[in-house]
Amino acid sequence: MTEISGGPFVVATILKVVVFFTLLILSIALGTYMERRLAAFIQDRSGPNRVGPIGLLQVVADGLKNLLKEETWPSAAYKGFFLLAPALALIPGTILFAVIPFASPAPTRWGYVDMIVADVPIGVLYILAIASLGVYGVVMAGWSSGSKYAFLGGLRGSAQMVSYEVGLSLSLVPVLMLAGDVRVPEIVTLQQHYPGDATTLGVWLVAPLLVGTFLFYLTGLAETNRLPFDLPEAEAELVGGYHTEYSSMKFAVFMMGEYGHLITTAMLVTVFFFGGWDIPFWSGDNIRVAADGSLIGEPAWWKTLLTLIAFVIKGGLVFATFIWVRWTLPRFRYDQLMDLGWKFIIEFVTIYIIVIAVAIYALDRAGLAFGPAYAAALLGVNVVLAVLLFFLFDRGRLIRGAGREAEREARRRLLEARRQVRQQTLSHALGESARLATTADDSSEEGR
């Protein structure tokens, strides 16, 4: 079967854009609902359960409420940028969706349809490029609000997202080294099991790249400003952070942007490390595009549907772990976060890339063919690294922040200085009466 082309291709693409954009917006809405329900479950309460069946229409009610709320314009705000910022926060998160394959190709009368909005040849690079645009919304909102809290939030946001961007990009390098391609569907294919095919690994990348998965997940959390990395908004410190001054729909758009980003991140984790739409232990979904554009495998509509369901379940589970983390952990402090990003994650990812590269080279030289055995060997390397990582990654070593020697020293000096000041005032007050020294001696005997 060949790929759909010509007029039907245009129609199919437009249909895909419309349908899947709608689905994405819907999933953002459901994402907020899921977050609230799961948070409620974790916190031993009910959560929204009044509007509609099991509270599902709560999101509609929220949307309506936000539309009807008063629009506020802070007098100190720069109007244009203030309005632009929410849009800039929402767009990158949603257009990332374009390059993510979410199901196996579907057959039609005119040829097969790739279940991906745009299969651009630079898929992964596109993802990294667009993901880093997300920071503009935060910076612009923080700066244009004309509020100090928003400003601090914007500053933190820009610093944080720029720093973790590096770690995020680097943690994908091992994936690309294994895939040998930056097209996203190739990465899914790589994880499918084709017996006897030496171009695929046949194992989800989470196994051969265990540590890489962890790093990508971690930096992904930081990129999306989720707890424990939600410092740009840190409601306890900065009231609302960069969106302190926003209200009504403008605020809702920020929220949508955040969840859009989050859902996309969950999907990226799924695609890169959990096989994308691949259904495990079943070779029926082994459908891929050959080099000449023809389709290998037997596409079917029901298979497309099944793989879509598999994809949604996997993405949903990853999303659920985001929620789980958020409602369990406390928040980092800003400097600790930066330390973790610059002094640990970037170094460690670099080392990781080198180790994996050497391992791949060694395995290739050893003549081991791509396949489960190859993956198992890499897994061994990862386990060793993971042990090292979690040994190093413990408290007092990396997340120490306040415990750093230089800071300890500065703190000690400050305390010493204060003691001196106090001693000076005290001795000044005491020194006034020369009599005191003698009376003190007398009374000490008396006291005994």
Partner: protein
Amino acid sequence: MTRATADVSPQLVVGHRRDGEDPESHASVIALRGEFEDAVRRVETDAIGTAVVTVDPERAFEVLRYLYAAPGQAYDLLVDVTGVDIGGGRPIRVWYQLWSMGHGRQLRVVAELPLEKLELRSVTPLWESANWMEREVYDMFGVTFRGHPDLRRILMPENYEEGFPLRKDFPLRGRFSRSEQTRRALSRDLEDVYARAELEMAGVPLDELGMLDVPPDRRPEELVGGQDALEGKPMLLNMGPQHPATHGVLRLVLELDGERILRCTPHIGYLHTGFEKTCEYREWNQVVPYTDRMDYLAPMLYNIGYALAVESLLGIEVTPRCQVARVILSELNRLLGHLLWIGTTAIDLGAFSVFLYTFQERERIYNLHEAYTGARVTTSVTRVGGMLADFPPGWMDAAWDFVRTFPNTLAEVDRLLTRNAIWISRQQDIGAIGPEEAVSFGLTGPNLRASGVAYDVRKARPYLGYEEYDFDVPVGVHGDTYDRFLVRFEEMRQSLRILEQALDRLPDGPIDIEDYSVVLPPKSEAMGSIDSMIAHFKLVMEGIQVPAGEVWYSIEASKGELGVGLVSDGGSKPVRCRFRGPSFINLAALPFMVEGELVADVLAVNASLDIVLGEIDR
């Protein structure tokens, strides 16, 4: 017994009813008699036997300095400074309540100030804690403290023009009419009210404003080189009074270099309702509801502290059942306070779920409150001489049920937080205060114990029979935020231990004393016997008559030492009703703890101090 000097104007009689203790045998009194023969005007005891030394105001500083510095005295904790005005043009008395950790001694030094010369020398060089307390005395009584580093109004607005509210010549409703008050409040330019830090930053010459300047060497950041790295102006961040993490209407003005704090100036008084003034116009039992509203997070502790103070003035002791009941309620409320603290601390540091876990437990304690008093927060549980009622049937079982199941939640929270790497890194080494500083700042309660000073009123001066309970006082080592967390956490376990013992030993018998001049006789008796009926009538119409005298009684509240200072002239209303809220003094140490830290640490430290604005602003 006393050797009052002749130049003193007519005084309110200080109680002498407890003859057991002779103040002249107090070691400090002997020493003062020897050292300051001419400065000591009178020596008396108050209702609980604390020696009260009235001294010449001119030499009060000298006396206090001696008491602070002489090794045989070593009164290192200045617990309270407050004023007492008894009206009629008589002098204003300024109380200095002292406690010596080393010698375990209590002493009250009183300076009598004639109205025409309301001036004292500030003792802030000796005790840092005097700073805010002297400001309060200045604010409420108009006593000027020479050499005070920052003598501004503290609870009332800085441009308050009606006078000094706690003076007897100040009418309860204020000097200005309601309309005038409203007019002034509305026409006031809010921007007029600046803190010194703000004015300094704006380059306003402080002399012109008549504000005393801080000598430059008192600013620690200049000693360590201060803001060296980058040139530029520090940023002023106004945190509060409406801020999600200031635990009430607290306003902190932060001077920031990046996110590092150069200076922190707390502003309080937004919730000031003049409880102490109002209490002077209420009968003794009518004061109880006001006490709820001070520490509304652990209301019964305030109820109990107040009742104990009045009972000590009356010279009565409550029934054994009432004592144990009060211990049960005290410890339940200690848990209530600590649970709120742990929940809000967790929220400030981003761990939201813990907040809901602890609030579930708080709700269960509130259920117990409700079952007993009918109210969940404003309990007003005590009456002078007893409680509002005996425990309702089944209440003890419910309390036992709580005590048995509560440790599960405690263990859960422990697992979530205590060894969490982020939690530790957010708290360890943050806001550290050493034992000497902690004592000097007058910290009490868990905040002081976290710095390694094992001072707990329940052990130091046991009340309600606390000496018969088996419990430990946990102390910290580093005095940082994390140690304060650990100390409070352990205190909850100790409270549970006390609760178990108290629930176990609650004796049968009446809960109220049977003195019908203090507690209402039961209705059946009031209707049946003429004596009881007269007693009932007099109590309802006139209230309890408390003999003239004064007392400063303190208990261990959940946040620290709660001192209740009462002065009675023999009537049915207090002449002075002082509440030494521990949070008020604990909060004064906040700038010391946070300067040099980051913005996020302000919240961690502020949360770890466990303040409640109701008791700070009163």
